[in-house]
């Protein structure tokens, strides 16, 4: 059986159960043994029942059953930091966002009230860590070993980044917008986490500085008081605790742009290449690939033979989802599912399928999404050193009783 081989291939002669529970949360059997050993359920300030992968720096995943809903509640939304530096936020009236850089006509300092004075826009968008599902890649690659839960979908609200940039005024020749946050390394060494996006993406009407998440302030661990929202792009650009924006005429050359978060050139075609950061051999990871997940039932679940509903969500880089198929027979045949009304091109789109009567026994269920651009989830893993963009259809095992 495929899963057993994977576990044995992990190096340990471990006769693991098909699925493991971490304090009641289901862990995919495909995760490395060591990950399964340390993962557990945890509560944090403002967070309920997440799956802990590391507490320093905080890396907590959203349990799969949460994706039965299109909107991920704030207290279940995943947490991802590279360095152990959750900042203590200043009183909101002392908070300042600085905008400057060589390609800014003038420096600007915006206070909280200034952000509120700008037009506020809302966008429902998926925030997915570039490394989501890294832990499910076989062969495994080093990094935080995420299962399915380094993602969530929320309604983000705040001023457009373009409106904020216009306060400082953009010179001709601007190429990239650099962003930085209040989280800085606890010990000297690791390079400060700063990222950049191309000017065109920064000026996109949907790229905003979120000051609210699902009609509430952002949780501290999701970037309070303000974070960048770059719909369609992986979470690495969604700078948390945003406090500095630079308009630059040159590409940002740091570890987080030039070394980390890169994919082999041409492996994952994108609509809008990040040209100023591309090299001959690699490109920064940007747009998400089409993907889906079954959230109900969950791995290892027991379901009724009179029939049950298979449901979950699908998403892509912002073209929207046109079709989700489900297989009840280990990928041999595929059935079309019903799709809920879309909440916007960047949001999760919920799918569901009523199975009808099934015989007792073990079943392996899969889901497979196709985007409005006609892109479908990859049948085989496009292996890459970072373990990024794993969108092979996810299988889960259930027992029909």
């Amino acid at each position: 059986m495929q899963r057993r081989t994977v576990i044995a291939g992990g190096g340990a002669a471990l006769l693991a159960p098909v699925s493991a529970m971490a304090d009641g949360l289901v862990l995919p059997p495909e995760l490395p043994d060591g990950t399964r050993q340390i993962a557990r359920a945890a509560n944090l300030p403002g967070k309920t029942r997440l799956l802990r992968l590391a507490d320093r720096p905080p890396n907590y995943a959203t349990p799969t059953d949460v994706f039965a809903d299109t909107i991920t509640p704030n207290d279940r939304f995943f947490v991802r930091y590279h360095i152990d530096a959750v900042p203590t936020p200043p009183p909101i009236d002392d908070w300042v966002l600085t905008i400057g850089g060589e390609a800014a006509v003038q420096d600007a300092r915006l206070k909280w009230d200034d952000l509120l004075d700008l037009p506020q826009v809302g966008v429902v968008a998926v925030c997915q860590c570039a490394g989501n599902r890294r832990g499910l890649c076989v062969p495994h690659v080093a990094g935080v070993q995420w299962g399915d839960g380094a993602m969530g979908c929320a309604e983000w609200r705040g001023p457009r980044l373009s409106d904020v940039l216009r306060v400082a005024r953009i010179k001709a020749g601007a190429v990239e917008i650099y962003v930085g946050g209040a989280d800085s390394p606890p010990v000297p060494g690791p390079p400060a986490f700063r990222k950049s996006i191309p000017l065109a993406k920064a000026m996109d009407d949907d790229t905003i500085i979120a000051i609210s998440m699902n009609d509430a302030p952002l949780p501290l661990l999701n970037g309070y008081p303000a974070r960048l929202v770059v719909p369609g792009w992986t979470g690495t650009y969604w700078m948390k605790h945003l406090n500095r924006i630079e308009i630059s005429a040159t590409p940002l050359a740091n570890f987080w742009m030039k070394t980390a978060y890169r994919v082999p050139a041409g492996l994952f075609p994108v609509q809008q290449p990040f040209a100023s950061q591309a090299s001959e051999t690699s490109a920064p990871i940007t747009e998400m690939v089409v993907n889906s997940i079954i959230a109900d039932p969950v791995e290892g679940g027991e379901v009724e033979r009179s029939g049950f509903t298979v449901s979950g969500v699908a998403w892509d880089r912002g073209t929207g989802i046109r079709r989700v198929e489900v297989s009840l027979d280990d990928g041999k045949t595929w059935l079309d599912t019903l799709l809920d009304r879309p909440l916007g091109p960047y949001a999760y789109r919920r799918f569901s399928l009523d199975t009808g009567f099934l015989r007792r026994g073990q079943y392996r269920l899969f889901s497979r999404a196709t985007s409005n651009a006609g892109e479908r989830q990859s049948d085989v893993l496009k292996a890459n050193p970072g373990g990024y963009h794993n969108n092979v259809p996810r299988g889960i095992s259930v027992t029909v009783v």
Partner: protein, 97 residues
């Protein structure tokens, strides 16, 4: 979910009361002390356990080098070699022939 809700709740309450969980203890062996001493500064040593067992000795050596060159970990050559050997022996897979 199969486990009793009460049990889960009790577990969660006691976790919430704790500031942070201690990392899983590293396996005993030559180099264990240096490893927990040097590899708990920027992140807990759970990053090591989490990334097991699938890295080869060369891959573990490359991880230790990456911590020093990309992330600025202050570890001298001798200790780095000791840590890499410990990781390969306790958290690694055999090198491919």
């Amino acid at each position: 979910m199969r486990a009793g809700a009460g049990v889960i709740l009790a577990l969660l309450l006691c976790r919430a009361a704790m500031a942070a969980d201690a990392p899983a203890p590293l396996k005993p062996g030559e180099g264990a002390e240096a490893t927990s001493g040097y590899c708990n500064a920027c992140h807990t040593s759970d990053y090591i356990v989490m990334n097991s067992v699938f890295l080869s000795p060369a891959a573990w050596k490359a991880e230790v080098t990456k911590m020093r060159t990309a992330f600025g970990a202050q570890i001298d050559d001798g200790v780095a070699a000791e840590i890499a050997a410990y990781l390969a022996a306790n958290y690694g897979v055999a090198a491919k022939p």
